[in-house]
Symmetry: C2
Subunit: 280 residues, 2 copies
Amino acid sequence: MKIAKLVLILAYLSTSLVKADSTWVQPDSENLLVMQLSSGRVVLQLAPEFAPAHVRNIRQLVAQGYFDGSSILRSQDNYVVQWGDPESEPGKQKSLGKAAATLKVEFFRDLEDINFVEITSTDAYAEKVGFVDGFPAASDGKRVWLAHCYGMLGVSRDVEDDSGNGSGLYVVTGHAPRHLDRNVTLVGRVLEGMSLLSSLPRGTGDLGFYESSSEYVPINSIKLGSDYFASSPAGIGLKMMNTNSAEFMQHVATRTSRTEGWFLEPTGKIELCNVGVPQK
Amino acid sequence: MKIAKLVLILAYLSTSLVKADSTWVQPDSENLLVMQLSSGRVVLQLAPEFAPAHVRNIRQLVAQGYFDGSSILRSQDNYVVQWGDPESEPGKQKSLGKAAATLKVEFFRDLEDINFVEITSTDAYAEKVGFVDGFPAASDGKRVWLAHCYGMLGVSRDVEDDSGNGSGLYVVTGHAPRHLDRNVTLVGRVLEGMSLLSSLPRGTGDLGFYESSSEYVPINSIKLGSDYFASSPAGIGLKMMNTNSAEFMQHVATRTSRTEGWFLEPTGKIELCNVGVPQK
């Protein structure tokens, strides 16, 4: 009886260790969104662990086809691109259908509940920085929140803290605006097609909004990864380095030490948003 | 006699104070370069105080028309655009004329020799950070060097520390690659037209180089500001906030505190490359 229990425990441990040690992981298509632009596809990975209500709402909107025929409305240099319903007049806007119209911001997870892989870095904005299952994150030693690095996906909102709902989304295309951390809900990151967003012409209106509708960039569709990749057993194909793996810590060390011959004064330092998560 | 001397000293002091207190400064056209693309003009401001030999060489190349008919050869997402002679075969390359072919890297100025305006920030890469006459900079308490923030202009080089000469130049178009500080010579910053560079299609070759010459972005010309603006007494028109002014320190304080109503958790922190120097 005792031995059987021990075997079970060992079996469980070995499974979880193998999982934790795996260097490359394929993102679960359940957590992917695929945005189709005329220039190609952008694949986004959602972070339901950090923003469960927002991710649920975004999935609902996507399932309803809310973003099909929507537009990229804003491209502010060194900041963000933003998309949503091109119609701003309340009566004419697309229906949110079954999705919630107001959602309170979601930022925090408890440090003790999650796998926060801390890196050695001095950060301008937080006590600790590191990664949680592929996402750059910061912590005060108790709570952990996602960090606004290049390529992160967030939910636009107005002044009220429940004025966002996921019908307006943005991606960071410039130097990390980390002052937005804990102020806007981050819901994921771009895995593929980032340059289709970052190289868009900049809007000439206030905050980089396109001034005329002829400048809007059409979004043909946004689909759930589980639908988009349903007919393709390999899914996205792309593999991301597992930030819980020893190889990732080696990657961080290499990015920190910079001992390649080209460097004259290897920095020996690294900043969170300069780490990057390798993919293949 | 003594009174006359005192008056002269006071007159001198008041002039220099007025100059130091002036909130807005118009960049000296002597230190400007104007790059003409088919999409518009890009104005660059040189930093001869930090890289005198490189700036002299670049001016020489520009005066010889070296860059007229050259090309942007590289656009690497979240990193840099780079330009120079599209011909890589030694025998066929453009002549450097009177310009030097090799220049040792130039990084440092003594802190005590310059006006380093330190800001309150925790930096991942340096002990102190701040601004020197408009340029973001870092310091170890003795030396000061320019920092690789968005929009900074640098000199490409190979492995040897004297393999750059200014015939190949790059501009930072992504999250600040601060590990390049003290490794590549920075020679200036973009003042106008940044989005013409940052929104270029990304190259699909290694390091974001364009794979075929049909993708190269033609540079019609690069001219010295002193020539380009010679016929226009107003010069560039653009005014930059004087980083030595009280108003600039107020700008840094505002960017740090973020007490605007929109912010839920004002950060109270700032990172060097998120400060930005206002212009009008």
